[in-house]
């Protein structure tokens, strides 16, 4: 029997597979046995109640999607009174995700929702920082660290920092949040993109820009996971473009301690369950006793180590 369990950023999980924030809601329980997951990550909430951005909210590509939702939120009371109890009964640890307009608000919200039924809080720092003209907190190491510090000062729960991939040097941000006390980094949120309809000469999304997610982003995020894992000692949770068990192995080899699956839940509700089985089979086949051994186990031929790794040379 393969030991699939992992302990990531203060949270013990039966296996390293969980949904990405915003990729599941109550409806999935009608189809999927949530009890099998490593953890259940909830959609981001904000302190206030929000309706989100104007539709259309999704554009489709060959193997990617561009969503712009705008974090509709029913606020922290709804989270504690409805969402958490709904998901807590399935067994796996429940991870809340929060976002706010300022670092202090992140701290206050973390405090407000610190509840024994929540195993960790993910900080969605890809969202706009009101003090920096709407640039994401996660684009600036100082702002990112401030958010984590504000949260760590206000809660005893583990804090995971969910990074934005829309940066030049993601390792720098990972180090900044590690120094600020983050218990894990989640690499990463969606890549900022845009879609235009040539016929109407208008944007395809109500919000003009949105987040690119799905299989097409895998090579980019896999590289970022590897960069983060080389930069920090806290666990890295891979997120972006994962759809199969094979993808999960790739992320773990690159340095991820666990993974999150997002968009693929929309297409195949069975994706998470099937990939847990695939990973178990892979370990059996490869004679790997504990899945955790895979983390960072990528084999680099000796002469590859010195080559150009931080720039594209085509």
């Amino acid at each position: 029997m393969v030991d699939l369990s992992v302990t990531v950023g203060g949270v013990r999980m039966a296996n390293p597979i969980m949904p990405a924030s915003g990729s599941i809601a109550e409806g999935i329980a009608d189809v999927v046995d949530l009890g099998k997951l490593g953890a259940i990550v909830l959609k981001t909430i904000t302190p206030d109640i929000r309706q989100g951005v104007k539709p259309p909210r999704v554009v489709e590509y060959t193997d990617a999607t561009l969503f712009s939702i705008g974090i509709p939120s029913k606020g922290p009371d709804y989270l504690l009174n409805h969402t958490v109890p709904f998901f807590a009964r399935f067994g796996p640890p429940v991870i809340a995700s929060i976002s706010a307009d300022t670092a202090e608000d992140f701290g206050n919200l973390a405090k407000y929702i610190s509840d024994p039924r929540i195993a960790a809080i993910e900080a969605n720092i890809s969202c706009p920082n009101l003090r920096a003209h709407g640039r994401a907190f996660g684009m600036d190491p100082v702002a990112a660290a401030e958010v984590i510090k504000a949260m760590k000062g206000n809660t005893h729960l583990p804090v995971w920092a969910k990074l934005t991939p829309n940066v030049g040097d993601i390792a720098e941000i990972a180090r900044a949040v590690e120094d600020a006390g983050a218990d894990a980094v989640v690499t990463a949120n969606a890549i900022l993109g845009m879609a235009i309809n040539a016929e109407t000469m208008m944007p395809r999304l109500g919000n003009v820009v949105g987040g690119l997610t799905g299989p097409a982003v895998k090579p980019v995020i896999l590289r970022m996971v590897n960069q983060c894992a080389e930069a920090v000692k806290i666990p890295v949770i891979g997120c972006g473009g994962i759809s199969t068990g094979e993808d999960i192995i790739e992320y773990m080899l690159a340095g991820a301690a666990a993974v999150q699956i997002g968009t693929m839940n929309f297409v195949h509700t069975a994706a998470m369950e099937q990939s847990i089985d695939w990973v178990a089979d892979y370990c059996t086949r490869k004679n790997i006793a504990r899945v955790a051994e895979l983390t960072g186990a990528l084999q680099l031929p000796v002469d590859q180590k010195s080559e150009q790794r931080d720039a594209v040379a085509l």
């Binding site: 809601a25 009608d30 539709p55 259309p56 909210r57 999704v58 509709p72």
Partner: protein, 281 residues
Amino acid sequence: MTLTATAKVEGPSGCFPRAENRCLVASNEPMNSEYRLMVVNAPETGLSAYAGQFFHLLCPATATEQPFLRRPMSIYRIDRENGQLGFLYKVTGKGTCALASLAPGDELNATGPLGVGFSIPEGTRHVAMIARGVGLATLAPLARMATVNGAKITAILSARAPEFLMSRDELEAAGAAVIEVNDVAGNSSPQDVTNRLRDIHEKTPIDFMATCGSNRLLSLTRELCSEWNIPGQVAVEAFMGCGLGMCFACVVPVRDAEGKEEMKRVCYDGPVFGVNEVTTW
């Protein structure tokens, strides 16, 4: 009390009322130059569907189309005796072109049944449904739902031209009185349809209305419902990501009794809403 979710009455009793149903295509034939009817053999969970619900269909990759997301399709026919489901669809773009390529014996992966469908209030005696275009596919199973509940049903079918009218047989078999109108004949304007309905209402009072597929039909339904002080429902469409209430892509503004607007998910809170709840779509 209202009679809703037939699924809860007749559906399977397991804990997973919805599933990725692996169906087998029984037939997939053109109905006219634009529409096709696909009939599939479906597992138990799929057959628990009721009028107004939909399935989220995985469209196969073909040499020219590789649709990534699923496509929502209303349930058009629920044939529990033969274990079959039917989808009536318009070949529009990538996804529906890909669906059209399916041949008998091919697999169709259909997640569902999804959403909240129609609910005919208990005691309803006479249902009037008004459908146009794709809306027909959505309303057709309502006829049987009404009949089963002991209500009479009148169906007004509207189309651009007579050749695009479909489903008279399907509806009549389900016990509906069918009236066809079309733009070529010039009897399909909202005014004409309203007049027809008034005549019908005069003879046999209508106490529930349902519509789908056209903003103009929604307006006239809303007006008649408020004039006659009866409930009415509409099935709404929206671009979908997940179909399961998870992505919030399919939202429409929905107004509650106090007029307060909230964005609601067509796939999860709908696709059927009260005619007064929906503002624009």
